[in-house]
């Protein structure tokens, strides 16, 4: 496994794999999202308590899951950058944080829109909502730190440390609905005793969740390719500058 990961970490091989995978994942993302959203908006039933507001679920839940999943990916990449000094891991973590910030923003905004008619308020300072807001600021902090130093390596290290330390927020988000009293409902899909949500809503939800996952892969690959180019440009510019001097 380490050998495989090391071989993936070569930029040339990464480019080859990314170019081969990208068209397929893009099509898959479009189909899954298209079918899942139409199913969720048109064919799934309204909830017996929440009425049609329940349709916000088909984007809110996948966005919230991707927000935390993307952070876990970013923290693992950051740890491997700190431990093994993999340059590609640094680039991938830089590529991931704006994506995570966008998913978190979507989770927060759609949650507020959903909260107004169902809870009677846009926002409460309870554990789940607050810890997700902290997640959003962690992403912003990561983006700011990784670009804050003239020395790219130093910025990358500082941002990686932030990403690793911030990972403590992930179990807090996950268990916040059990540890503290909250307006936010508990888990209804990943439960020990199986999902408590009806199949007519579970299926479109699974499709949009998979679609968001595929979209994440597309965005991540495109942004890593872009980061690789940026680094190459930087190296060439430095070489040219030192050649002149």
């Amino acid at each position: 496994m380490p050998n495989f990961l090391h071989s993936l970490a070569s930029p040339a091989r990464f480019q080859r794999i990314a170019n081969a995978v990208l068209p397929w994942v893009s099509v898959l993302a479009a189909v899954l999202l298209g079918v899942g959203i139409v199913w969720g908006l048109v064919f799934s039933p309204p909830d017996y308590q929440q009425g049609d507001t329940v349709r916000v679920m088909y984007i809110h839940v996948p966005a919230a899951w991707m927000a935390t999943f993307c952070y876990a990916v970013m923290a693992l990449l950051s740890a491997s950058f700190l431990i093994w000094k993999h340059q590609l891991a640094d680039l991938a973590a830089r590529a991931a944080s704006p994506i995570g910030a966008c998913f978190t923003a979507i989770a927060l905004i759609t949650g507020a829109l959903w909260g107004k008619p169902t809870w009677g308020t846009w926002w409460v300072w309870d554990a789940r909502l607050t810890s997700v807001l902290v997640l959003f600021f962690l992403y912003l902090g990561h983006m700011a730190l990784s670009a804050a130093f003239d020395d790219r390596e130093r910025g990358g290290r500082a941002a990686a440390i932030l990403a690793c330390v911030g990972a403590i927020n992930l179990p807090i988000i996950k268990y916040s609905v059990e540890w503290w009293n909250t307006l936010h409902q508990g888990a209804s899909v990943f439960r020990m005793d199986g999902p408590t949500i009806d199949n007519s809503m579970l299926w479109p939800l699974l499709l949009t969740v998979l679609g968001f996952n595929m979209l994440f892969v597309v965005l991540l690959l495109v942004r890593i390719k872009s980061e690789l180019l940026a680094r190459r440009i930087e190296v060439l510019q430095r070489a040219r500058a030192s050649g002149r001097g």
Binding site: V42, G51, T53, T110, L113, K116, L215, V218, S226
Partner: protein, 58 residues
């Protein structure tokens, strides 16, 4: 026609459902477009830089 307006009305929750989907679309499409633009901009920048660096050698 009535089916369409019933659908758009979202059982009286149009002001909840449509903005949620709208904001999501704007953010995700915006991120995708920005990422693709940055990629093609950097490709062009790199190509220009490489051709500049080759010239003095000839």
């Amino acid at each position: 026609m009535e089916a369409v307006s019933t659908f758009l009305d979202m059982g009286g929750y149009a002001a909840t459902v449509w903005p949620a989907y709208g904001v999501t679309a704007v953010i995700l499409v915006g991120l995708l477009v920005a990422s693709l633009r940055a990629l093609s901009r950097r490709k062009a920048e790199l190509a220009a830089l490489e051709s500049q660096m080759e010239r003095p050698r000839r």
